[in-house]
Amino acid sequence: MPKRELLLGDEALALGALHAGLSGVFAYPGTPSTEITEYIQGHPLAAERGVHRTWSTNEKTAMEEALGMSFVGKRAMVCMKHVGLNVAADAFVNSAMTGAHGGLVVVVADDPSMHSSQNEQDSRFYGQFALIPVLEPASQQEAYDMARAAFDLSERYRIPVLMRLTTRMAHSRAVVEVAAPRDPNPLSYPEQPRQWVLMPGNSRLRYKALIDDYARLENEAVRSPFNRYTEGSDRRLGIIACGIARNYLMENYPEGCPYPVLEIAQYPLPKESVRRLAAECQELLIIEEGQPLVEQAVRGVLPVPLKIRGRLTGELPRTGELTPDSVRAALGLAPHRAHAASEIVVPRPPALCQGCGHRDMYTALTEVVREFPDGKVFSDIGCYTLGWLAPFHAIDTCVDMGASITMAIGAAHAGQHPAIAVIGDSTFTHSGMTGLLDAVNEGADITVVISDNLTTGMTGGQDSAGTGRLEQICAGIGVDPAHIRVVVPLPKNREEMKQILREEIAYKGVSVIIPRRECIQTAKRHAAAKNK
């Protein structure tokens, strides 16, 4: 009997990759992708095989490290959340140009409805843009199976493969049947060494080959077992269902869908299959989780002979994740009978934990900022973004990893004073250090608060790349050591913290204040482990 395991989508993919002969996973934590790497970190097979599995400093370094592992012939995987692919984009897009040698799989977890993110960008566009094939599972079993299929496709075409997950797939659990693990690859070198040196002459040649390969990959997608075409008796409507939308469609037809259905889980878009469906049906409904990539492609800009419905025509909501109910409405089925919503229920937003050091930092900071008529606080991505909410209302911006320091620089150059940046320790090493170098080189009059909780807190407490070395890093970048100030953020130290903030805001130049106290969630875990 095959072995069965109850796994999150993230974990199923991770185990699939391990069993496919993975030699290294490279990642920076980001919801909803974090559990992929964590699962491999905790798996005995990874330890036994010496699979590389420590966190990288950011998604770009992770992507490049994986590409290096692929160059020498071994199977590598990179994992990130959707906005992480923006950080890794330079390496990602150019990895299509170099191609892969050992199988290279880039897993990107999108977050439609923005449960824990600042936008809902759809990573399939990146695949299309870079000419990289995309696989998108709709079940935990498929996540497991596709991981191996992705490595195989990558090695057959010598191209990185993008695997796209969405929040529901990543964070939902089901039973998975697992296969026998395969051995990792031995060390070997590319047969086409020239395309790994992307000088213009090499790149021009390679780009043509890549475009030819992409056409062959489209034929692969037409024949792919993941892109199923199911006949239906009622041809008034044909349905294209992509990724996890396939589940919501079938949820509404437990006894089988009466219409012909094209399921799409592998890209490039299998155009021949789309044309076949369009030729058979009077209308098309396109259901896809994320942005309307397929719908735009099928609709085009010129008149088409049949009616196409989807997110762009309002049958499905233009934004947010799909649900069985929104798909039901698009299918023209009557809604289920349901209870009315309660009128007394109020929202319960998340908040910083009681006893968290960020709280003490914000209490002191907001009191000092109020002493100025126009103090502005540029913040960043992490637990401390919750400082925007009551009771602190402490921050004015949150954009992308590292933008606190650089936006403060720009504002300071425009005459803003005080220009204060608030960034966490992990976000600082991820993307804040280069901005701090700009600040030093430009002599920007900014005050940087690195709120150091010794971990990557929001994603559950992963290792932080600069722990124990933040002062050295700041001094090395060129911040005057007299203006690198460390303080323990506790209620009893509030006046000390306020005084330091006042002094450093008054200083005309770059100063860094490091309130440092361990995240209380990881502290609890450490204490529990000690008592065992």
Partner: protein
Amino acid sequence: MKKDIILSGVGGQGILSIATVIGHAALAEGLQLKQAEVHGMSQRGGDVQSHLRISSREIRSDLIPRGGADLIVSLEPMEALRYLPWLAAEGWVVTGTTPVVNIPNYPDEADLKRELQALPHVILLDAEALAREAGSPRSANMALLGATAPLLGIEAGQLEAGIRAIFARKGEAVVEANLAAFRAGYQTAQKQTER
């Protein structure tokens, strides 16, 4: 057999342990299951829910449709009401009655109770008190699971085996404390459902 369950509460209360025990028992009974969880930002004291679906047939959607839940199981009374649009017409609500007041505009407790009691099928229990009386103040979630047990369509013994399995590594005393809380919840629910 098919049960669609919404588990709800406030981040940190321990709804996922309830899901883990039910999942363990469902698998032991040879049932299929899907369980969509909330990870990330909301876990910091915000509202959290998990869609747990168990069935003898294939389950496609990770999410329960509106009006489709057989059960709402909540550790917190306002959080039970938040998911009413997902409750089937004849569905049950099983909820702890101790409010978690971590927001300034928390509704009046009497209003919450009135709205809960107006539902056709509801079990209210002070899960914290039951767990305390059972000698295990941190096992309110298992008391709530006990109260849910008569409605799950899974043998109570199978759920107890699940509790044993997931708490085993914490030692026999913790297993027994959680079982005691589970049984206290079970008895409370039986009394309420008999009426």
